[in-house]
């Protein structure tokens, strides 16, 4: 599934004949890829450094805002693994996110004292379980049917969580306290907004590096080949369903991780986050930022949240009207997203 006109052989392509570079006959290919790696990692370090310094110079509100951007960015990035790399558009990520949140909430409410290192695995297990469940049913379906099925699954979990008031607090959700950053027996220090930000940054950066490794591994290559031409990949002999299931579970795992982080930051879990509209927003982040880039969705989340902040200052609660219009315009005119132009570059 190719998003935007970039890869599709379209009858109306009216370009001059391809340059030697495009045909792949670049000169000094080895040299320039080393240079590209250097530029890439320098850029990466600069960005991370900026993000580390940021909480030191920003006022409290923006500190939290930046942390939220990172969390939503992680969620969007997890979804990119499916959309951008495997070509599967999922509207189910709100379920993984939400279950990660509730899983962490459960750990923080049931166990005394509330422990970070219990919350994380609980959230991840809950998300992985849901992802496995969803994956089992939906991966045998293609395209639109996959999208609709994952959407329906989000709703199933929403309805269950919403109505199972005894377990989940129903409509009101669950509130709990934030666990300290603790290494048992050694130190225990409560999070403030700076240290929480650094913790989230560390988790997100690590997740990015892991996902990047995955997309560049042989496994990731198979996923991309599924995206390009599923029938041919199957014909070559790969058990596509299994790859897809793993992809969904991996994606769900990182989405759940984002849910855990959100729970820790905001100290509540609510069914609203499981509602399918949240999944829709996640896909919006992906498209705005550029699918298939991993970093793009984070930028997309930032772009969306900043626009929302901006619009809501001037237009109170109806910010979604101009925001929606901007989104539609981008889908039509800039389908490759903000970072789409750098897609090939970001993936080398």
């Amino acid at each position: 599934m190719s998003f935007g006109a970039e890869n599709a052989p379209h009858p109306s392509a009216s370009r001059a004949s391809p340059s030697p570079r495009e045909r792949g006959e670049g000169w000094g290919e080895g040299q320039s890829s080393d240079r590209r790696a250097l530029i890439y990692w320098s850029g990466f370090s600069v960005v991370v450094a900026l993000l580390i310094i940021a909480p030191l110079v920003l006022p409290e509100f923006w500190r939290r805002f930046l942390t939220e951007i990172l969390i939503w960015g992680l969620l969007a990035m997890s979804s990119d693994l499916l959309i951008g790399y495997t070509g599967m558009v999922s509207f189910g990520h709100s379920a993984f996110f939400g279950l990660g949140m509730y899983g962490a909430a459960a750990a923080l409410l049931w166990f005394e004292p509330p422990s970070l290192w219990l919350a994380i695995p609980c959230g991840l297990i809950a998300a992985a379980a849901v992802a496995g469940f969803v994956a089992y049913f939906s991966t045998r379906l293609r395209d639109i049917y996959f999208a609709i099925t994952t959407l329906i699954f989000s709703q199933i979990f929403y309805v269950v969580i919403f109505t199972w008031t005894e377990m989940t607090g129903g409509e009101n959700g669950l509130t709990f306290s934030r666990p300290p950053l603790a290494i048992p027996g050694i130190i225990s220090v409560a999070f403030d907004s700076r240290t929480l930000h650094w913790f989230v940054l560390a988790v997100v950066t690590l997740s990015y590096l892991i996902l990047r490794r995955v997309t560049q591994s042989p496994f990731g290559m198979v996923l991309q080949s599924i995206r390009e031409n599923e029938t041919r990949t199957r014909a070559i002999g790969y058990p596509i369903e299994r790859y897809k299931i793993v992809a969904v579970m991996l994606s769900g795992l990182f989405a759940g991780l984002a849910g855990v982080l959100y729970a820790i930051q905001n100290r509540f879990a609510a069914p609203d986050f499981v509602f399918f509209l949240v999944s829709g927003e996640v896909v919006i982040f992906n498209v705005l930022g550029g699918i298939g880039t991993l970093v793009g969705p984070i930028v997309g989340a930032a772009f969306f949240l900043l626009l929302r902040e901006g619009f809501s200052r001037f237009l109170t609660e109806y910010y979604l009207i101009p925001l929606g219009l901007v989104f539609i315009a981008m889908v039509i005119f800039v389908p490759q997203g903000l970072l789409g132009f750098a897609r090939r570059w970001l993936n080398q």
Partner: protein, 241 residues
Amino acid sequence: MSPGEPLVQVDDIHTYYGKSHVLHGVSLEVGKGEVVGLLGRNGVGKSTTLKAILGLVRPSRGRVLFEGRPINQLPTHRLVRLGLAYVPEDRRIFPLLTVAENLRTGLDRRGVTAGRKRQLLEKIYEYFPRLAERRGQPGGTLSGGEQQMLAIARAMMLEPKIILLDEPTEGLMPRMVAQISEVIDVLHREDVAVLLVEQNVPLTLAASQRIYILEKGLVRYHAPAAALRVEDAVIHQYLGV
């Protein structure tokens, strides 16, 4: 359109399929009422040329003129209203429409009276009695040969000035091939021009006034059909196995 001016003129068109350069500057023309054959091996761009004329593929360079007017920019359905009709390689009749409904897609045009529609239908059912028999059947249930007849009949319902035929005899039994030959003759007698893309050399030579031979996206040879024989060297060169 002045006399002597070709009905359809294709002028140095280039097309691409993704990065692949398919037509490298094809030029040809079809006069009013003429039957022109376009021969060539598989994949040289014969179908693409027809599609470019119809606007189903947009040339990146070059022009297509109809009755002297450039038609490159027109949307396909507008072109067709000007007087072009198309019978594609895989027939592509509407499978869930009945035979009669398929014909109606060509008949239901502006400026055609109910009486004229009945006339045209009767005429076509005379030419193709098999279609008359099956007029209430869904197009998808017809045999390959019958579908080919339906595709041609449907195009004739447009009362076009030129019909673009893409490999009409492909996969047909000899009896049906003969019938196709007859249909082309009928069209010629009715002063409908035909641009015939084919791999069947004898049929094309017999039916056409002029022949173009295409190879690798370019016209390599052009001659009156009368001047060519099946066993000629040039035929072997561009079409031989």
